[in-house]
């Protein structure tokens, strides 16, 4: 029962991420934050029977009184009606401003429960207990919370930092294979945009990761969070370098939007989006073709898609034009100069992009 701790340094909003098997049983990690407070576990119907009782025992041992709100499972529920049900639950149990939300689940639960915390009574504290690889390496750092709107993904939300994150690698054992691999797409993203050595380490250790070996997982999650934290610390409100984290996401969000939420997993869409961004980087003469091939090779070994579905160029551009990172109608893309080095292109050449999309 060893674990590693990473401190996300955001001044007075700094917080620890504890990574390892069974960290969700460690009352000592939560007591400093929760002792004497009411802790409301927000989780989904799939995870509640697996982990909620264990977590509530930990909360009790940490000196908190626990409550529980269970939401339906699935991206379709990352929406107002579910958020409204969470607010209703909090009000029904008289949660006050000193209450703490404990988000137990993947990205949907973390984003929705985090936004509930950001906006309930104009903001209460929350703790993240991410139970998917994607959530552990992505939602753990950055404070992004929110819900979808019928007209766009993640269009309503807030930046709200947790008190602490418990990334229990043991919870990944119950993750379906497809979801687990989808999380690996975000892991390899950190290598691709920021750390060539980490990318090479991932290539060398992919088999151990696919076997969900504890030591490899702890390293991969720790380094992913570290890279993300470095970038986020430079740019908490996402006006500059943080955009690098969207590598693969502009194309990926377009895939999710056009295909309909849920058909492609987020990580699968990002995987295809990263491969596209790499190929577009090659087309613009920024990236060596061999580097794009290496990225695609990794994705294929991880059984992740490197090709997008068939979509009309007009549908691509329409969906990409609605991305939050765009300013004044231009399309921002994250491109690669090399594996381990990305750049922000604030006004992607639209003609080139259309030609590229026509053959994508």
């Amino acid at each position: 029962m060893t674990f590693r701790t990473l401190i996300v340094d955001l001044g007075e909003r700094s917080y620890p991420i504890h990574i390892g098997d069974r960290v969700l049983d460690r009352a000592d990690l939560l007591a400093p934050h929760l002792e004497g407070r009411r802790a409301v576990v927000v989780t989904n119907a799939t995870l509640a029977p697996l982990y909620a009782d264990r977590l509530e025992r930990t909360l009790a041992a940490a000196g908190a009184t626990a409550g529980r709100i269970v939401i339906p499972d699935g991206e379709a529920h990352k929406a107002w009606p579910t958020l409204d049900a969470v607010f209703g639950g909090l009000l029904g149990m008289r949660a006050d401003r000193k209450s703490v939300i404990v988000a137990l689940g993947g990205g949907v639960v973390g984003d929705l429960a985090g936004f509930a915390a950001a906006s309930y009574q104009r903001g209460i504290d929350f703790v993240q207990v991410p139970t998917t690889l994607l959530a552990q390496v992505d939602s753990s750092v950055g404070g992004k919370t929110g819900i979808n709107h019928p007209l766009g993904k993640n269009m309503i939300g807030a930046f709200h930092q947790p008190l602490a994150v418990l990334a229990d690698t043991g919870t990944l054992a119950s993750l379906p294979d497809r979801e687990y691999r989808s999380g690996l797409a975000e892991v390899v993203k950190y290598g691709a945009i920021h750390d060539a050595d980490f990318f090479a380490w991932l290539e060398d250790n992919l088999d151990a990761l696919l076997a969900r070996e504890e030591a490899a997982l702890v390293h991969a999650i720790h380094r992913s969070c570290e890279v993300k934290a470095e970038i986020v610390a430079l740019d908490e409100r996402e006006s500059g370098p943080r955009a690098l984290l969207n590598f693969g996401h502009t194309f990926g969000h377009a895939i999710e939007t056009v295909q309909g939420y849920g058909k492609w997993l987020h990580g699968e869409a990002v995987a295809a989006g990263m491969a596209m961004a790499a190929r577009f980087s090659v087309r613009l003469g920024l990236l060596e073709p061999a580097e794009a091939d290496r990225l695609e090779g990794f994705l294929l070994r991880a059984k992740l898609p490197a090709q997008p579905p068939r979509m009309e160029p007009g549908a691509w551009l329409d969906a990409m034009g609605r991305d939050k990172k765009n300013e004044s109608g231009r399309i921002t893309l994250i491109l690669l100069d090399a594996l381990g080095r990305a750049r922000i292109e604030k006004a992607a050449p639209v003609g080139e992009l259309e030609a590229f999309l026509a053959t994508a």
Copy 2:
């Protein structure tokens, strides 16, 4: 066309409040914030025909491209369906993260449009153009935004500071008498909790204020915002002294909740709530009876209610127990030691309170 400017000092979130007749025509006040940006006016169906064209001309002169979203008038619409319509409008016009919301209206518009700004794409800028006395002296300072939930008022929201506030006293001319007087309740609150001289000035100048005389209005609004800003600057996130601003509001919110939103105007409920808090202060031996009488006398001269409606003690306590400022089930009240000096009572004596409410 003179005006006064007050800077609300919140470090990097500092912003100016410009107070005076026709400040909404002053493009020079907005250009530094809005030049080259898209400005989306959010207003209601009553105010749009009165001021929206004028404001949009000012925005255009300030170098912004203007859009408009009109919501229905009334507190009943300070709720999710209206907020959702604003999000839909923003997405429909492809508002991006550099877009700015310009909230033109009273408290409902300001709170709702401010929360739309706080949460659209996880936060965009906004400008307040409050058109009621209440909004000019209350919503202008403090950054509180939000909507109501069926189970409680202002239960969903965010702290989000505007870029600037234009408090145009000329817009008060069109305000119905009852709403105008309701705003005076918040004005006298600042005197009662923090500034005995201002309280006395208000007693001396009530006739000029009731006649909506420009000079008296500018002074009253300026000093009200100044008092609020002083208190908010000490305590932006409402963990300490900011609670003083809730003088009259715990009782007042209970009146609004039990009577149903909209039957009593907010300022009317606050007026009765202040009179109750003063009488309860007398009952606890904190305040001289003559001081409570002076406050009641002012309210009555301003034709504001000093008595609550008939309500069961159980209904009072139930509604007061749901107030956001409460911690761990205790009831927090703001009480007076004297006119101009308030205190925060974090655990009001419940037995005394029940006895008081039984005769209220």
